[in-house]
């Protein structure tokens, strides 16, 4: 994670600007809130979409993340980047909601929707993509979250660790375990990755 002593002058200046922006938003300045929203909404939306797999749910989770963040700005101490803090809220809001929904309904329906909602398909074989998605959904929560954040969305282990409140070692181990479980679950498709 970034600390004041390791920052470049340019980055330190950006953080100072951001703190000023957050301070304005804290005082209820709607334009400052809008600016913060525009700076971060794309990445937050992508993350909630990855975790939920549903467009309408990703939209709700993104909205909830910002509503909660703006209401809790007093709790933002400014010792980390606003984006990092926002991602922590987004992960918390998303996993809470997904857990709640999981309790309420069977997993099958969201899974079906998740599969149909995927817009891009580098995996050309739909059967293969379906198998992979099903295997990912079977992963334990921690492994699945770390896998989606790292492999699907490109977060660093440092970012994941901060968002989940764990060490980078745990993040790396969870990714390794998630991949190993996927490898076992997809063992019959080994020809896909073996040269």
């Amino acid at each position: 994670m970034e600390t004041e002593s390791t920052l470049s002058p340019e980055r330190a200046h950006q953080l100072a600007d951001q703190r000023a922006l957050v301070e304005r938003a804290r005082r209820g300045d709607a334009s400052a809130q809008r600016e913060l929203y525009e700076s971060h909404v794309e990445r937050i939306y992508r993350l909630t979409f990855r975790l939920s797999g549903m467009e309408h749910l990703a939209r709700e989770l993104t909205q909830d993340t910002f509503v909660r963040a703006f209401a809790s700005l007093d709790g933002f101490r400014g010792d980390s980047a606003f984006g990092t803090w926002l991602h922590t809220i987004a992960v918390s809001v998303s996993l809470n909601e997904l857990k709640r929904r999981k309790r309420e309904s069977a997993r099958a329906a969201p899974l079906d929707e998740a599969l149909t909602m995927s817009r891009t398909a580098p995996l050309s074989d739909p059967v293969l993509r379906e198998r992979l998605m099903a295997a990912v959904n079977e992963l334990p929560e921690g492994c699945r979250t770390v896998f989606m954040m790292h492999d699907a969305e490109g977060y660093t282990h440092e970012e994941i660790a901060t968002a989940l409140g764990v060490t980078t070692g745990t993040s790396k181990a969870q990714l390794s375990r998630g991949r190993a479980k996927l490898r076992i679950a997809l063992a019959d498709l080994a020809e896909e990755w073996r040269p």
């Binding site: 797999g53 989770l61 909660r68 909602m117 995927s118 699907a152 896909e192």
Partner: protein
């Protein structure tokens, strides 16, 4: 939208071996890293729609917190909610305990007590015209209980069968009246400590539940009880007033209306008299 203000920080249970790294397969890892971005691939973020929704949610939350939206629960919790809920649960528990584990016929006792000990409730500053309430349960007090213990024993009637339908209705009446007592006590307390519209709304919701039970009782054989019916009728009127006025912040006139109704109908003392648990000092006697 969900209620983001109620979300607790999420804690994933990674298990005891969370940090144990399993052997990698570089070929699979490379393949999965390439395939993963296609899983749940996001569409374009609907920025404007989401921003509008965020602003609307902020406005609604602010209005609800300010008590400007009738029927919408404020995001902050009333400090009275928990004590009131605990008090209600305790009262109900005591009532059920006393009713369930008491020899049959005991439920009739309070009426007899009331007839023999019509003393003034010291929690009420003024209780006018209590003697004129013909047919209703006369006011009694918790303080009068020590004098009534022996009388309670005297009036127990062992011939009342526990499966007697009228007794069952009376048990239901006692439960409803216990709830009503807790509600009215909470109402009075809230009036003394804080004129909070949120509390008024919560009391209104609670009042609706008690009112439903009260009306069911009025339509049941319990409503034919000459002593119970006037009390239930008066309780219904006061509950309707509380519910009616709970949709908006109560001003001094609103409260005065309800307070006047409570006073002139002697509601709390009569309820306490009708509910066996309202008589202190009997538990050890049973």
């Amino acid at each position: 939208m969900t209620d983001p203000m109620n979300d607790k920080p999420f804690q994933i249970n990674f298990g005891d071996d969370a940090d144990v790294v399993l052997p990698d397969d570089p070929q699979f890892d490379a393949w999965i890293a390439k395939a993963a971005p296609s899983l749940n691939a996001p569409s374009v973020a609907p920025r404007l729609e989401m921003w509008d929704a965020i602003q609307a949610a902020q406005k609604t939350a602010a209005a609800a917190n300010a008590g400007e939206i009738p029927g919408v629960r404020p995001l902050r919790r009333s400090r009275f909610l928990l004590p009131v809920a605990i008090a209600a649960a305790l009262l109900l528990g005591i009532a059920i305990d006393r009713i369930s584990f008491r020899p049959s016929g005991d439920v009739e006792a309070p009426r007899e007590i009331a007839k023999t000990a019509p003393t003034q409730d010291q929690t009420q500053p003024v209780i006018p015209n209590t003697e004129r309430r013909v047919g209703s349960i006369a006011p009694s007090t918790r303080n009068a209980a020590p004098n009534t213990t022996n009388q309670r024993r005297d009036v127990r009637t062992p011939d009342v069968n526990s499966s007697d339908p009228s007794r069952l209705y009376r048990l239901a009446a006692v439960q409803t009246l216990t709830q009503a007592e807790a509600l009215l006590t909470a109402y009075r307390t809230s009036g003394v400590a804080e004129r909070d519209p949120a509390t008024a709304k919560q009391l209104g919701q609670w009042g609706r539940e008690v009112l439903s039970s009260t009306r069911l009782l009025l339509d049941s054989p319990a409503g034919d009880d000459a002593t119970l019916r006037p009390l239930l009728n008066d309780l219904e009127l006061v509950l309707v007033q509380i519910i009616h006025l709970s949709g908006a912040p109560l001003d001094a006139n609103d409260r005065a209306l309800i307070d006047e109704a409570l006073r002139t109908r002697d509601l709390l003392p009569r309820i306490r008299t009708a509910v066996p648990a309202g008589t202190v000092g009997t538990a050890s006697d049973d």
